[in-house]
Amino acid sequence: MKSMSTTRGRAHHGHMGQSVCKGWLIGLTISSSLLGFCLFLSCFILAGTASADTSLEPIRFGLATAPSNLDPRFATDAASTRVNRLVYERLVDFDHTSRPIPALAHWEQLSPIHYRFYLDPNRQPFHDGQPLTAQDVQATYQFILDPQHASPHRSSLLRIDRMTTPNDATIDFFLTKPDLLFPAYLVIGILPAQLIATQHPFHSQPIGNGPFAFTNRPDDSRLILTRRTDRQPFEFVRVPDPTVRTMKLLAGEIDMVQNDLEPELVEYLAKDQRVVVQRGHGSNFVYIGFHLQDPLTKQLAIRQAVAHAIDRQAIIRFMLGGAARPASALLPHDHWAGNPALPPYNYNPQKARELLAQAGITPDRPIHLTYTTSSDPFRIRLATILQHQLAKVGIACDLRSYDWGTFYGDIKAGRFQLYSLSWVGIKTPDIFSYVFHSRSIPPHGANRGRFIDDTANRLIDEAETAQAIFEKREKYQQLQAYLLTKLPYVPLWFEDHVFIARQEIEGFSIAVDGNYDSLVSVQRRR
């Protein structure tokens, strides 16, 4: 533009200098305007689809803990995993029985060690506009498998020998050994290969192809995502205290919460007209673990006495407000590998006393155990109830509550007699190998109680090598029945999920694993 102006000035050289000057000024103005417009456009494009529509009021989700890592290659905590599912899509998902189903790709098994995945032709591009290809899938899994990156998900993917990409929409996985359940492990969100190569900070600036795009994270307690379909912003707000979270919900400072509320607060909210409470079955498994090399807790009769001394029904009814299902195994009954025929241990204090007497424990020779738990008030409350119920049959428990780091460190190191914990988000039955096989004693797995049992090992190995799904299910069901007789864990219950939203919020449905996927359909009624 500037050169045009100059040309025009030369053409009218015979006119007054003022005319030349005026033309130059007009040119400068136009060029500046165009430059400004280009800059604005660039900024808009750079921001991509992530920029929220500021005319829409954000829908605010109150969380007890903020997602700590927005990079799915490294995230392990529940909050991060749930939020990352919104930002990134994965190859495979699960149905209500935890069977793997196609998500970003469907698959076929070409040989026992060769799986071919076909990417969905209607898949969304990444939030920066780049298309998602098989190379992105390969780069994501290649990164996780590289031991230098120390991804916590690497161990579950070690069965991958190599990957190839015949074309942009197809990826082949070759395994080191046959595994019928292999697709169930491909649940990591896919990242753009180009940005992986440039070491993009996904943990703080995630870019995926999920239904929500990252917009902003003003501080550690707030995360703003934008729904791609309608540019509706969603703000995830950390409010650690359950009472404050409840009050904020009633005051309209947040629009919805899920879980992490005392049952009494849920009942309190259920009576309030301003909010709606939804409940749904969950798969979070709560249990009591034993140290099986301890002189006392290694005795089966004592473990059985503990199981019979606990009144689960009363705890579920009065303390949990009915929001749990008694458990008899690590997998819920509706899991494809679950065992619905297993009855939970019934409350029978008399039988507990008899079992203790068999173990040589009488009122004049009482037993003293140490019960370790975290410093979470709800867990201490539960521990105090269990302590009271165990005392009724003659088992005296000393409660030891520690902050989470110390508690978890002690559990992994085997410094406990009794402890209580929960397993969250269990989908695949390989958890049995991780938790009960004798080769899985920490740091090689989560066999924290040092359970060493040849029959359990054999059943786990047979289930893992079974070549048909029905055979696998049968073996896992046998294993669960056997574990219930040996009691390395005392199964307590599966916690329900509770979702509470303000009246004007609609469209959310509770998932069995507590994920936030249905935020794609949540709307604020006007």
Binding site: T246, E262, L265, E267, Y268, R317, Q387, H388, L399, S401
Partner: protein
């Protein structure tokens, strides 16, 4: 004297409850799940807590906890601080200098913060709370005793006792301590209030008594999660704590006035 009857009766009640509480058929740790968070009513006139335990029974045991801690801490602090302060001022020189510097160092930290640090290092438990609070509490008595002894040790009867060859122990016990006892007793009365608050604070933070034992601080902590649904869990121990501390402070004020010869209150009350 009349103005302290109310607080004094409350303090006597506190002492009686604390001392005689175990004689009553209390069940402070009896968990009754159907009664969880039941409010104040005819069956339990202070309601039940989050585990269905009777609040009244736990309040009584909490009173005993705070009483035992307060008396133990103040006794240990009083004896330790008074003796150190008195000896230091009487001996003087390097000993006095060292003690003054120690007092300065202790006073440089906020007392409760130091107690939290000590209790945290030693681990939770009522014995460790007593030790932590006593380690922090002696400083006030030592400083006061030292100042008082410095002002009275030059008095004629003390000089005379020295002149006739009375041993230092005799001078301290017979000529100094009786003279400085009044302000130390007043200090102790306020010390009890401070210790009750400090014990409650440490138990609130989980550094005091351990579950299922009861303390007013731990009762308040347990209740904070249920303030919306069961405010009695916070109000009941909170009011008890406030009433006892207020009573001690009013009683301490009255005691100070009563022991103050210059103000003449003591003589007025007697007449």
């Amino acid at each position: 004297m009349i103005r302290c009857w109310g607080p004094l009766s409350l303090l006597v009640l506190w002492c009686l409850i604390a001392l005689l509480g175990p004689l009553f058929p209390l069940t402070p740790n009896q968990i009754d799940l159907p009664n969880i968070l039941t409010g104040i009513g005819s069956q339990a006139w202070l309601g039940y807590d989050d585990l269905g335990r009777p609040m009244f029974d736990r309040l009584v045991i909490g009173a005993r906890t705070s009483f035992i801690v307060a008396i133990s801490v103040v006794t240990v602090s009083f004896i330790m601080g008074s003796l150190l302060g008195t000896c230091s001022a009487y001996i003087g020189g390097v000993v006095d200098l060292v003690l003054v510097r120690m007092i300065d160092i202790f006073l440089a930290f906020p007392g409760i913060l130091l107690a939290i640090a000590l209790a945290g290092m030693m681990g939770p438990g009522i014995e460790n709370v007593v030790i932590a609070l006593a380690l922090v509490g002696w400083v006030g008595y030592a400083r006061l005793a030292r100042a008082q002894v410095l002002s009275v040790k030059e008095q004629e009867h003390v000089v005379a006792a020295i002149a006739i060859g009375t041993k230092p122990l005799g001078i301290i016990s017979r000529h100094l301590l009786p003279l400085i006892m009044a302000p130390l007793i007043v200090e102790a009365s306020f010390g009890i209030a401070g210790t009750v608050i400090a014990e409650a604070g440490l138990s609130f933070l989980g550094l005091g008594v351990q579950p299922p034992a009861a303390s007013w601080g731990s009762m308040i902590r347990d209740g904070t999660r249920y303030m919306l649904v069961a405010p009695h869990m916070v109000v009941v121990p909170g009011l008890a704590l406030m009433a006892v501390v207020l009573a001690i402070n009013i009683f301490g004020d009255w005691l100070r006035d009563w022991l103050d010869v210059k103000a003449g209150t003591r003589h007025t009350s007697r007449s």
